[in-house]
Symmetry: C2
Subunit: 332 residues, 2 copies
Amino acid sequence: MITFQSLQNPRTYAILGTGALGGFYGARLQQAGIEVHFLLRSDYEQVRQQGLTLESPDGNVTLPQVYAYRNVCDMPPCDVVIVALKTTQNHLLPDLLPPVLKDNGVVLVLQNGLGIEVEVAKIVGSDRVVGGLCFLCSNKIAPGHIRHLDYKQITLGDYGIETNGESYSPCGVTERMQQIATDFERAGIPIDCAEDLFIARWKKLVWNIPFNGLSVVLNATTHEMMADDQTRTLAEKLMEEVVLGAAACVRAIDPSSTRAVPPHFIQTMLEYTAKMTPYRTSMKLDYDDRRPLETEAILGNPLRMAKQAGVELPRIEMLYQQLKFLGARNQV
Amino acid sequence: MITFQSLQNPRTYAILGTGALGGFYGARLQQAGIEVHFLLRSDYEQVRQQGLTLESPDGNVTLPQVYAYRNVCDMPPCDVVIVALKTTQNHLLPDLLPPVLKDNGVVLVLQNGLGIEVEVAKIVGSDRVVGGLCFLCSNKIAPGHIRHLDYKQITLGDYGIETNGESYSPCGVTERMQQIATDFERAGIPIDCAEDLFIARWKKLVWNIPFNGLSVVLNATTHEMMADDQTRTLAEKLMEEVVLGAAACVRAIDPSSTRAVPPHFIQTMLEYTAKMTPYRTSMKLDYDDRRPLETEAILGNPLRMAKQAGVELPRIEMLYQQLKFLGARNQV
């Protein structure tokens, strides 16, 4: 295990992107007595004056006063900077991250997809990045008003240090991950600490690629997709390609590695999806609200990594191509 | 070349399915002085009383009197029985064909897809089937009222005789094909006589599978699909799989065969599509009008034949699965 410098105690947090996800976790952290600074765009005036409101099955809460900012240059440097924007906004990160990150702080990437930590590492250094995978159903229903529906847990994984140009080497459960976990658990968010962020991200893609992608192309909820034999079979085939892609990428780095998405994981995910409350995926919500789709982070990056590792994933590629067409037309 | 018995001269025609396609060709044949008998369902009363109307860039025509029938048992047995139904109605053929087919007559299958002749051969005998591939843009805009937009040519191919359980052996340009060609050409329809119906059908699938399928999944015209780089690439990949499927099926019958879709055919089809008037494909018209989709004839049958020949076509399979989902939901 690599040893990184500990984070300061108590830790301060910055939330870049106070939407359904950033607003939820940020509000919970502040509610637990942790100092949180929120970056906002369109909701800035509302939140500065009225604070944040959170509806949740765990209990509703109003935070009448929050530290709200429109510009990172006005924010104090923080110990943990949470990237909670959509990945389609990541071209802004080179400007957003440096001013708000403390010298010994870390960036916590709470975004979907693969390869985002690589981009963040280029900005802040590879030793200052932690990844997080959120399992959360939450919507922003009005400015500063978040409705939490279901789930909330996060899987944390340390990005480690890039060595010989290779990224995502497994680096175990680091102390700084545990410190962040402590803060979130204090805020009532269950945390799973993964020893291997790369595999954790591919595992999440096993679900995200088929169900986010097909929900847009087929205009369907998770329930409708699972109820149709053809679509369930297609989802399973797509999942098999994700597992294949993960294996190829791991093999390309180290042919003797045993890192892998476990084979039974596909069936686990299918059973879990069959049982879950029918809902619109995050990509479908983006599509229906005419926001840009996270096609590159969720499908494009894994596809390109797999291709570089020498494996073609024809169904994922086809889904990517369909989403690129539908996403572009949706923005006209 | 196999020699079949000549058809009688002059020949009488039955049209099973007097819609955009059957109505168009039937009206043109009757206009040329050929005896044509039309089977109708919902439009029967209208056509019996008012005849058929055809709008066309080649000239509008009204046929105030046509032989119209609601039941095949009332029709005289004909020399050429044209199947112009949608393939989704083909479960009716065992009842429709025998009463209307003369002892020495042939069935001319003017439908999309693959494997339809095999089904027809089971009903009337494999030596009594000719296939035809129509290149036609035509709509039925009201009962007995057809609007012809563009194209009209037909590629004819004789089905031959099933030997040792094998179907679609190439059997050259037979006399009966030439007789049918003479009638159509007299009616102003250009005819191309193919020596190999199987390859002719796969060639048509090179266009039909990507553009019919994607037009429904992406809700797009041919023009929109060709204007988008991702979709154009996807169409090309799908075309490559069609060519692969054809090759595998030919190889499975005769490993030494040189029958094939020529390699340059994909580029020819892409260029042709880029230049054509933007239009909604037949499957998209069916989808928009909430009719059943011809998914099995156009994608399911070729997929199953290719699978039996030992080749997987992942993109076509995925398109098939997506169309099955969308088609089923469209019928609710």
